[in-house]
Structures are given as structure tokens and as C-alpha cells.
Symmetry: C2
Subunit: 416 residues, 2 copies
């Protein structure tokens, strides 16, 4: 049935004969989002994940904040992010209508606050960048900031208000996406590789030794997408993040909107969730898969968070966790075809997986349904890291054949 | 079968006809310890607990430190504690021999450290008290302390070394005690009250409505011992404690001995456990059952712990939990008979449950086997809170009949 990249022979008895249009490796927000949109296009889909939503999607703060995340030199990513944010209300409305699930979309904006002169210079730089890009943001005095969020410490020095940022309950969004999929879509197995036959992806290999066949395979394994047997090497690395959850014991909200703080040079964000919850994030660690919830990581997050919002000290600390962002060389996702015919990737969303879920799901579903990656995603293919003309940010692959192959991939999917 | 204190009738079909000698309500360290010692005396025993060892025993730091815990005005408790410590090596050796379980007894002593002049005055006061009592303890310079524990911060001001303190892995000890009990001893049900017939305790009432009969009933429910229907009111209150666990990621020990620190007036203790573990404790909260793991509680423990032992910052934070110490008006346990014939209590161990397990188990087993509470425990009966002659510390009960009744209880158990 399949001549896979390694030497094992697949027993045809264990192969599902009901070949679907699309097999998606990874059932986090990206995989589940693609599955939902692909189903809406009439494609048959399987999502393969032993514990869907237990990775980065489980930890995500859920900020939908292209403006407050904006960084010099990432204009292309900013435009993709803004496009995804623009699609969010419709995406959520459709999903809520289809499932009856509330996904906790908040449109209350983001307040960025600083504590010392350097923090304020950083906020002013960001504000200038906003104006250059024509993005809405407003400088506030400490008093104005505290009128918006009375729980903020009086010790802050100033603030920047990005009223058009949203946030969403990433876990609720993920649950809704799963609920929107037809029964039987989810296959609770671990993907160990891409099954390749005559140079073409024909399914995914599972931990039990079987192969789940599909006309097209989508790799949406987040930080685990690199080095998947059968797939070309992807320039994705795990960036560890420790993140906490708290909730007020009196049932009252701890804040009404996202607060991003620079506390004398240290970053912390606070995202209200549910009626009385708060997500406190996040460390950023380049330790491969070795990051853990540490004494120092939790201590610094709690210290900075309580400095910003003192009443947090009385809140219950309900979760401490670490997960892994799928980082890429240019901090932008990898979307679309690969040099392996039949193999599509949607990974490398780094800090923006929740924000980029709608545009990723739409673009990949379009690719799967029509064979063409839409223009909005065309700049984000794997080819940008490997094609000679792609300039800086080139992915230094040790697999020369594969890298050469990627050069031939454009924004069109190899013939299905 | 039983005329219980409330109006429900017990269906005799649901009553176990195989009446045992002793039914123990509560399977924490105290209940399990009593059960083991009572079995060794030839008594038949049942321990009733839906989740034995999940209460204070699960959180305990396991310090066996009568000297470093010594407080002015608690000489009687100190003597009981010292007696229990004296029994620890034998208790543990017998238990390890019976079960093959290692319970992690450490005899490496306690190092008390201080950071400012007030901290050092408190350590000097404690040292003076030690000398008055003839207890071994030695003042160390910061350099001497760091030669014992190289991980200690150079910023400490001085130290006091109590070389004769021990510590034990409270969870391992509890597991060993359960393993030492014959199969069938443990009944995984929740106790809802004491079954009383003709004024005498005849068993415990279970959440499923049945009664588990026993010749004698022992209440060992820790902080949950107060206000048990059928038992006299006990002056036990829950004192919340948040406590953390960490472990080094390189597998190396974080310290060799218990470190108790006064960090500019704030208390924190660090108890090494296993090969690379550390228990970090503890808050002390008088909020009834309302204490939770809070942002502020965890933050302060982590801040103080990392100030004492900076390398802790790199350790994995593996647990954050809150449990409830069974506090009493004089911080000492309540051991022995009650005004209700057939009803014995062993609770109120406050901060010293692990330390006092051997002497409590021995004394209560002696009472159960012979009808006489041994002299070592005679000063710790419920009567001290209720008898007119007991002076200060009298338990102000609103139940006058019961309080009067307790006055008649001496250190001998009412006729079985």
C-alpha cells in the first residue's frame, strides 16, 4: 500500500480502505480550524491527534492583538495578522451559530502600560510605528489608564490604548471547532510520519504501525512539525513558554481588557477570561523541548503581574503550565505546499496561532479545495526559506535535495 | 441496630455484621499510624477514608524538628514532640522492615538562617531557649552555614544549627503505613458521623447511609474533626497552608538538610526530599476552609525561597497545593477518651502531625488495647479544654451539656 520513507512495510490489513480527501496531522487550533473550513468546502477530513488541543492551544493567552504585537520589520506578518483579525468576528459568529458554543470573543481592546522612562520610550516608539502604519492607538496618562482599568497600580507611568485589539478564549474556541466537526473526524492516534508512495504523500503513519490514507496530508503539528519522517525538514523550533491562570475568589472580574505591561523592561501580559479568570503570561525560552514550569519563571510572572494589578495577589492560582510555540526564522507561519506532492503544511505560527487561525483555516481550505493558495498567504510558503531568490531568512537545510526541491514549489499545490 | 444522633434509621441490611474492635475515621498519617500499632496489639481494625492521605498528610513538609519549632510557653508540647522524635528511628525501622518501603528518614539536621538584625535577634532568642532547655543547637557564621550548605545565598547574616532534627518523606511514610495494614482494613468511604447507641459510640456512619460498627471509634479526621455528628464538639479549626514542591532538573540535590529561614521577618522552610526534590512551605491562614492556592501566597513563598537558595530558580515547580492543619487553642493535639463512651480522639496535631505520629500511634494503641492512656499523652486529653480546673485555654463550647460531660473524662477511657 505504501512505500514509506523508512524501511518498514505497512501491513495492508491495518490500512483504512476508506480514503478521505484530507488527513490533518495535529488537532490543535490550526488543524481543527482547517478541518472545519475544509468540511465546509465539501471535503472529507480526518484529524489525527492523540490529545487534541493539549499543546500550545491549551496554553495560549488568546490575545488577538496585531497592533500591540506589531514589531518593526514584520510588516508582512502584521498585514496577515490584521487580515485574520478582520475575519475573526465572522469566523466566530459562524462557529457559534454552528455549534451553540460561546468562544468568549472580547472586543474591549488592549492597554499597554509602562513603569519607568525606558518602558515609556518603548511605548512611544510603538505608538510612532502605529501612526506610520495608520493603526489606531492612543497615549493615555496613568489617570486615564486607571479610569479604564481601576485595578491597575497607581505606580504606572503611562499607557497606550489599542482599542481595536480583541481576545478570545482559546480553549473554548478549540472546543467549538471540534464540536463543529462531524462524528468520526477525529482519530485519537499519534502521527509518527508521513506515508509517501512514489514520491507523493498518501497518508499519515500512526503510532500503532498502521497508515491512515488521504488524498492530501496537512502537517499542523505546531512545534512538533519539524523532522517528521516523510516530510521535508521544516524550519520550526519549539520556543518554551510558561503561562499561568488565576481567578478571583469573589467571582468578580479582575480586569475588563487585556493589559500588556513593560515592568522596568520585563514583559508580562494579563488577559481576562471567563467571568473572573485571568491568564498571566509568558516566559520565552530557547531551550528546545527542555523548558519546564520553573520556580524562577513562575516567580517572575507572579511578581510582575501583581505589580501591574495588585488585587491579583488575592486571586486563586489555578494553573501553571509550559507549552511550546512553533517558532520560525522570521516569526511568521509556514503555509501551503511543500516539495512533496500531496503534502501541505500549516505550522510555525509562533506567538500568533490563535490570531492567525481564521486566515490560516481559510487559506489552507482554499488550497485543498481548489489547488491554489490564495494571495493573502502566498508570501508564507516554505519556499521563502529555501529558494535562492528569497534573500535573508533562508533556511539552512542540511538536506540539499529537499531544499532544491522546495525551490520549485510556488504558491500552487503540486498536482493532486 | 443503632439509634443515631440524628433521626435517620439505619437499615440493618446495610450494617456490616462483622464488628471489629476499632473503627478509625480518617486514614491520614495519624489514623493509619494508629491502625498499624493497634493491629500489632492484636486488635481488628478498619480505617475509613475515601482518599486516605489526601489531606494534611499529603502536603506536610515532614520536618521532625522539635528544637527548631520550639516556642516559649509550649514546653509540654515540646516534651511530647521530643519523645516522638526519640521513637522515630525505631518506628521507621519497624515499618521499613515490615513493608520494604523506604520512608526517606533524614538525620542531617536543620539550619536556621536569618537576613537582618531582627531575624538574628529572633534566632538568638531561640538559641537562648534551647540552652535553657538543655537542647543542642549551635550558632554559625554565614561562612560556616555556607560550608554546610553551599547553595545558601551569601546574603544571609547568620545561622543556628540544630543537628539533631530529622525529616521524613511524609507521603512515603503514609504509603508504608497503608502497606503495613492487612488487606481489607481500608474502607474507602466518607464518614458522616459517629453512630451512637444508648449514649455509646458503636461505629461510624458512612456517606452511603450505612453504619460500619466497631467496639471503639477513633476520630482522626484532622481539621475535619470538629462538628462531627455524634461526637462532642472538638476545639479544632482548619489553619490553611499553601505549600509547594520543586525538583532540580539536573537530578542533583538542591540541599542536604532542612533550611528554615527568617527573611527579614518572613518565615519560609525548605525541606529536601528524595534525590532532587524540595518542599517549600508554608503560608498560615486563618480563613476557615476558604484558603486556596493564591497568586500572592505562591509568589511570596517563591520569592523568599529563592532568596535563601538562589539555585531554586532553575528548579521545576512541580506542585502547588493548599491543605488544612488541625489547629487547637494551645497548638497541641487532642488525644484520648471523650465524654462519649467508646469514642476516642486523635486530632488537633496542628503543625506537628508528622512529628507526633509515632507517639500518637503508640499512645492511642495502648489506650485501645488496655483502656489506659499512657502518661506521655495524659496531658493532652480533651478534658484540658473543658474541665473547670484546666485554667486558661478552656474551650468555650456553646454545648453546655457536652462541656459538662467532658469534665468527667479523665485519662482513662470510659468502660468499653
Amino acid at each position: 500500500m505504501s512505500e514509506t520513507v523508512d524501511s518498514e512495510t505497512v501491513d495492508s490489513d491495518t490500512v483504512d480502505s476508506d480514503t478521505v480527501d484530507v488527513v490533518i496531522a495535529g488537532g490543535g487550533l490550526i488543524g481543527a480550524g482547517i478541518a472545519w473550513r475544509a468540511r465546509q468546502r465539501g471535503l472529507t477530513v480526518r484529524v489525527v491527534d492523540p490529545e487534541p488541543g493539549s499543546g500550545a492551544s491549551h496554553a495560549a493567552g488568546g490575545m488577538l492583538a496585531p497592533v500591540s504585537e506589531a514589531t518593526y520589520g514584520e510588516d508582512r506578518l502584521l498585514r496577515l495578522s490584521q487580515e485574520s483579525l478582520r475575519r475573526y468576528p465572522t469566523f466566530v459568529a459562524e462557529l457559534q451559530a454552528a455549534t451553540g458554543h460561546d468562544v468568549g470573543l472580547r472586543t474591549t481592546g488592549t492597554l499597554m502600560v509602562g513603569f519607568d522612562a525606558d518602558d515609556m520610550r518603548a511605548l512611544d516608539d510603538l505608538h510612532r510605528y502605529h501612526r506610520e502604519l495608520g493603526l489606531p492607538a492612543e497615549r493615555l496618562t496613568p489617570g486615564e489608564a486607571r479610569r479604564l482599568e481601576p485595578g491597575l497600580t497607581p505606580r504606572l507611568r503611562g499607557a497606550l490604548h489599542a482599542a481595536s485589539d480583541y481576545s478570545v478564549d482559546a480553549r473554548a474556541l478549540h472546543n467549538a471547532l471540534l464540536a463543529a466537526l462531524p462524528a468520526g473526524t477525529l482519530v485519537r492516534e499519534r502521527v509518527t510520519g508521513v506515508a509517501v508512495h512514489n514520491g507523493r504523500a498518501v497518508g499519515v503513519r500512526l503510532a500503532d504501525g498502521s497508515t491512515l490514507p488521504g488524498q492530501t496530508v496537512v502537517v499542523a503539528l505546531g512545534a512538533a512539525s519539524a523532522d517528521l519522517p516523510g516530510a521535508p525538514p521544516l524550519p520550526v523550533r519549539p520556543v518554551g513558554g510558561q503561562i499561568l491562570r488565576a481567578r478571583s475568589l469573589d467571582g468578580e472580574p479582575l480586569a475588563e481588557r487585556t493589559v500588556r505591561a513593560l515592568v522596568r523592561g520585563r514583559h508580562v501580559y494579563l488577559v481576562p477570561i471567563g467571568g473572573n479568570g485571568m491568564i498571566i503570561g509568558a516566559t520565552s525560552e530557547e531551550k528546545g523541548w527542555h523548558s519546564r514550569v520553573t520556580v524562577g519563571g513562575v516567580y517572575e510572572l507572579l511578581r510582575d503581574a501583581t505589580e501591574v494589578l495588585p488585587a491579583l495577589a488575592e486571586a486563586e492560582l489555578t494553573e501553571t503550565l509550559v507549552r511550546f510555540r512553533p517558532g520560525t526564522p522570521d516569526n511568521a507561519p509556514i503555509l501551503g505546499p511543500t516539495p512533496v506532492p500531496g503534502l501541505v503544511v500549516a505550522t510555525g505560527h509562533y506567538r500568533n496561532g490563535v490570531l492567525l487561525t481564521p486566515v490560516t483555516a481559510d487559506a489552507i481550505a482554499e488550497l485543498l479545495a481548489t489547488g491554489t493558495l490564495p494571495a493573502v498567504a502566498a508570501g508564507f510558503t516554505l519556499a521563502r526559506f529555501t529558494a535562492p531568490e528569497s534573500g535573508p531568512g533562508r533556511f539552512a537545510s542540511s538536506d540539499t535535495d529537499s531544499a532544491a526541491g522546495v525551490g520549485r514549489a510556488a504558491s500552487h499545490m503540486p498536482a493532486v
